[in-house]
């Protein structure tokens, strides 16, 4: 967790060209649910997620002058949060985050399509399996599947599918080429679909063990 001195806090008393304090606070309030949701998916832990959001808000205020365009408030905020998350993880693991990722070439990531699994003749004859599958998906299923993704894929899927950032915006947030974003997103979604499928095969009434 960040600890800032009052001097650091007040250092930014100058009003940003785009946002004064009152508007900044309003913007934060408006985005707080989303910010917390993404923080929870990133950290996979509510206490760490709350710390991450609190640090992000403090950092955002300190560097408010770097916000050039109010319409870009959300990607700007997410960039601060994601970078802070990655840098804290680096510190914690004492090695570069990229090294902690599963090597892209080594990961078990044969393209997987839920649709192809569900859209099989014997299932189609029986009912509308795709719709049935979607109707039965629970919040817990999505959370488990997202939490199981390798971090490099999870971050990209969160930014694209929860936050709705464009590939270009994600590339800026993560400082990665757009082609890498494209590839990680594709593989992340494929892994997510595979996890949802595998989770759906498990007996529904068994305890999760967590």
């Amino acid at each position: 967790m960040m600890h800032l001195t009052m001097e650091q806090m007040n250092d930014n008393s100058a009003v940003s060209p785009t946002l004064n304090r009152e508007h900044f606070v309003k913007q934060i309030e408006a985005h707080l649910d989303q910010l917390y949701g993404s923080a929870l998916r990133l950290t996979r832990n509510s206490s760490d997620a709350e710390d991450l959001v609190a640090d992000t808000v403090t950092k955002a205020w300190i560097c408010i002058d770097s916000l050039q365009d109010l319409d870009r408030f959300k990607p700007w905020l997410l960039r601060i949060m994601t970078n802070h998350f990655i840098s804290e993880r680096r510190k914690a693991s004492n090695r570069a985050i990229h090294e902690s990722y599963v090597e892209e070439s080594e990961s078990d990531d044969e393209p997987f399509s839920l649709f192809e699994r569900l859209h099989q003749p014997f299932l189609l004859w029986w009912s509308n399996p795709e719709q049935e599958f979607l109707n039965q998906l629970l919040k817990e299923d999505i959370e488990t599947a997202l939490n199981d993704l390798a971090e490099q894929f999870r971050v990209v899927v969160i930014l694209a599918d929860m936050e709705g950032l464009s590939y270009q915006e994600i590339s800026e947030v993560l400082d990665l080429p757009v082609g890498t974003v494209r590839s990680r997103l594709s593989r992340g979604r494929s892994a997510l679909q595979k996890a949802l499928w595998q989770h759906a095969q498990e007996p529904k009434n068994s305890p999760s063990g967590e």
Partner: protein, 81 residues
């Protein structure tokens, strides 16, 4: 782009570009090709609908409400700005 400029594509190519189509990340040329194919191919259209719904379900179910403790904490932090 007029209709005759749209490049015809097969199912395999349309499916390869489907998620980027749904993300609005294809260039105009490819976007139109996928769209044209979807209008003509029921199987790919069904798949597109599934992927689109799944994307929405993930987005909707992954959302959270910020806990009240966090709201209070952020309020306290903001008072120091």
């Amino acid at each position: 782009m007029t209709k005759k400029d749209v490049k015809k594509i097969e199912c395999e190519e349309a499916i390869r570009m489907l998620l980027e189509y749904l993300d609005n990340e294809l260039d105009e040329h490819n976007h139109d090709s996928v769209e044209d194919h979807l209008h003509a191919c029921r199987a790919c259209y069904t798949r597109m609908e599934f992927e689109s719904r799944l994307k929405n379900v993930v987005k909707e179910k992954a959302q959270e409400k910020a806990p009240i403790d966090l709201r209070n904490r952020i309020k306290k932090i903001s008072e120091q700005f």
